[in-house]
Symmetry: C2
Subunit: 513 residues, 2 copies
Amino acid sequence: MLPLQLQPESQIPLYVQLRDQLWGLVHTGELRPGDRIPASRELAVKLGVHRTTVANAYAELESEGLIEGHVGRGTFIAENLPEHQFTPPPKSNGTGTMRWEALFADDRGEETLSRMMPTVPKDAIAFVTARPSEEFFPVEELRICCDTVLKRDGRRILQLGASDGYEPLKRALIEMLGKEEMVVRPEELLVTDGCQQALDLLCKAFLRPGDAVVLENPGYPGAIAIFTQARVRTLAAPMETSGARLGYAGVDLDALESVLLQNRMKLILETPDFQNPTGTSLPLEARRRLLGMAARHQVAVVEDHIYARLRVKGTFVPSLKALDRHGVVIQIDSFSKVAFPGLRVGWCIGPEKVIERLRLVKQATDLHSDQLAQATMAEFVKKGLMGKHLAKMKKVYKGRLEALDKSLERMMPGGTEWTRPEGGMSVWVTLPAGLDASEILHQMRLRGVLYIPGRYFYFQNPQPNTMRLGFAGVDEKQIVKGVAAMGELLQAELRKKERKPRREDGGARVALI
Amino acid sequence: MLPLQLQPESQIPLYVQLRDQLWGLVHTGELRPGDRIPASRELAVKLGVHRTTVANAYAELESEGLIEGHVGRGTFIAENLPEHQFTPPPKSNGTGTMRWEALFADDRGEETLSRMMPTVPKDAIAFVTARPSEEFFPVEELRICCDTVLKRDGRRILQLGASDGYEPLKRALIEMLGKEEMVVRPEELLVTDGCQQALDLLCKAFLRPGDAVVLENPGYPGAIAIFTQARVRTLAAPMETSGARLGYAGVDLDALESVLLQNRMKLILETPDFQNPTGTSLPLEARRRLLGMAARHQVAVVEDHIYARLRVKGTFVPSLKALDRHGVVIQIDSFSKVAFPGLRVGWCIGPEKVIERLRLVKQATDLHSDQLAQATMAEFVKKGLMGKHLAKMKKVYKGRLEALDKSLERMMPGGTEWTRPEGGMSVWVTLPAGLDASEILHQMRLRGVLYIPGRYFYFQNPQPNTMRLGFAGVDEKQIVKGVAAMGELLQAELRKKERKPRREDGGARVALI
């Protein structure tokens, strides 16, 4: 029997534990290419878990190329292990006597982020990223800004600086926010290394192990990683993506309210505009209701504002921060979705006492953010170049978003649903029940199309028939081509499934759920 | 009676709690200028603490200008509160209903770092920093490097990058380290935002609340801040600064061994070269003994290598990492003490499995370090400009270090001791018993001389008669002038103390300890 040990009390989903442990056994050589592994039903019984857990793990392992099924014979470790994903077991260095494993803080699922980015083969149509499209980066303008600030203020920029941010950048941001009708004082603004760091600082300032936060489910894996690492309990606010039940697509506020009623929460992380991964946005009334709820329950709302400037159609809706009458909102933001995510510069807006606390945490974390990046960004913003680039990118993204929506309409099989974002970078697709986005990914890759299966964005109840399509990095022609290939394959899959119920690896015939 | 509440079980020293709470009472207006506060003896009895605790707090508050003593009348809140340190009580914003205090993770002494940097008046001779001297920064050369990399690789630099670091920087560092006879593979190297962040990542990767680490005492306050914030227990390895007992000045290895024998520790943080604040270095034999101890007790050694390249005389001693035969050392490093600390770039070298773990933590913390800074630094190092600048700065610092040592020799009162570093940025001074470096600072400031009282570097048993003199930022003439002023004042203080035992604030005559 395989040496597998699942921990039901862990925050890491059981199927992820199982998947990772199987990878581990291959890494250590305990399982070798060609080895047979138990049928999912059999393993589920042995491990005392639900069969879906094993099925989910197997589905991923298959799509990752670690295992393969042979009709009538069972499931096996693949003869040709995928090279790009296969790390050989660590070499013993001969002299090492240190048992590092005993020193590490325990395993806490940090793998989420790295695992979700598949290696992208050249020429693939990759709907995988939520990054700004680098072919449009105004590199030359940025280079001139950088050169200007080094000539003007080099000595100051290159010396240690303030933990709350480089003053000229703070000024430039405050001026820009003023034009967006957000009045912000310097004491209410902290520069960070980006939104990921803003979340990390918030986690340190507010949360102790065992404290609880509400996260969107599905949501941004980077947030889940931070809170899991800090041993904070994460509770789910489910995302409604069809719009059928709530009258809108977005976070389910009834469910959120019931979480708040039943638990003592400290923070709600909410992305009201073009949420990653679903692309949904909260209507004005829902925003007001959310704020009222937070004030009533004395829970802070962390508003992820990173996609909000990428609205390409529809009506502007004020941010939670702009609507906040109770002082409950901390807004995190950056230009990383507009341009230059390689410059690690973001910011955080909140009540003065929150910002002061975050400043102290920031100081103890990394002293301050890189000043060359801050100074360069300040110049770029002040000269109006960021606004100009944003306007240009919104045109590009509008075209891509519309191409994607139209292509989905035309080419996806009946029963497929998807969200209708008015901006942002991603569309969330729900396939007809019975199709598994992870399983299909393998074949999709052979046809040169990539996406991220929806389950990577869930920290609870992963829905296997979902996927995120990131459209920002794919041009319109490619979008049409990619969706066509997807549609074709899905149609074929559906026909196959109609013809014959799938043969289970143990040999038993089962109906598809 | 004042609403003071000290928590003996807190990691924050009692005198710091008391000091901060008194500041707090002034902030909130509960204490006003001219208000009388209890004599230290009286307050000590009421609070149930040792009198030294109150005396320490009062000494600091006096040097900070918050309180003043009037002979025969007692101690009072100063009539003219120091403006630069006085933050007015937070304004109520009228609409806010959020009780943020209830949401923060508890107070954990993060103030250390910000409090220790006094505001430096213009023209003061400030022995306060351990920063590289910015007037020598080769800004123009750096600007050209920056321009070159943006022209050559702009698009790649400005897009998201790898969590372990920008590949060309990793290559440049590995090449440079090779010339320093350190063979490092790419999998053993992680780029960080500097040593402060390296410590933060190590803390996350290794430590859970309640775990224990050994820190040098006195040591780097930034390290203390990180571990305190993470609720990690910090145990002290005392620094011997006179050399009298151990035959050398440096960490007391006997004391360290007894800590290791009595406690289950995870990490030892050690700065073998030109330790901040004492300037001491470990001899070769002591390094070997330390490594043996760590291996025997299965404790990781985190070697802070940040000052090591600043050796200006004496014989080179290999780093702990270079001497490590057991694979117990993780080395953290950066160029921040050589040049450009405003570029947040450092690195960390360790066994592959440690680096892989740190990479995952780094990813969940801030995705990756700023790539413009990394690319620019890579170019600067590759072109040999860092080596050239280092050589130049060593000459400058050698002159300053010698000027300081000679001035101390000539001008300090008998009974003063100080360390004799062969490099680095600071000299540690122990004043004759009975003198308090915090108390004297106030008068020293009036004479235009600043230093950091030693107590800010202790997390246990602060020695009031110690101070750190950072010489890197002060030119030779100023050093002579500054030490002369210090010497004069100290002589006068000693004469005063000989003439009349100090009158205690309650009016009682007490002998000085």
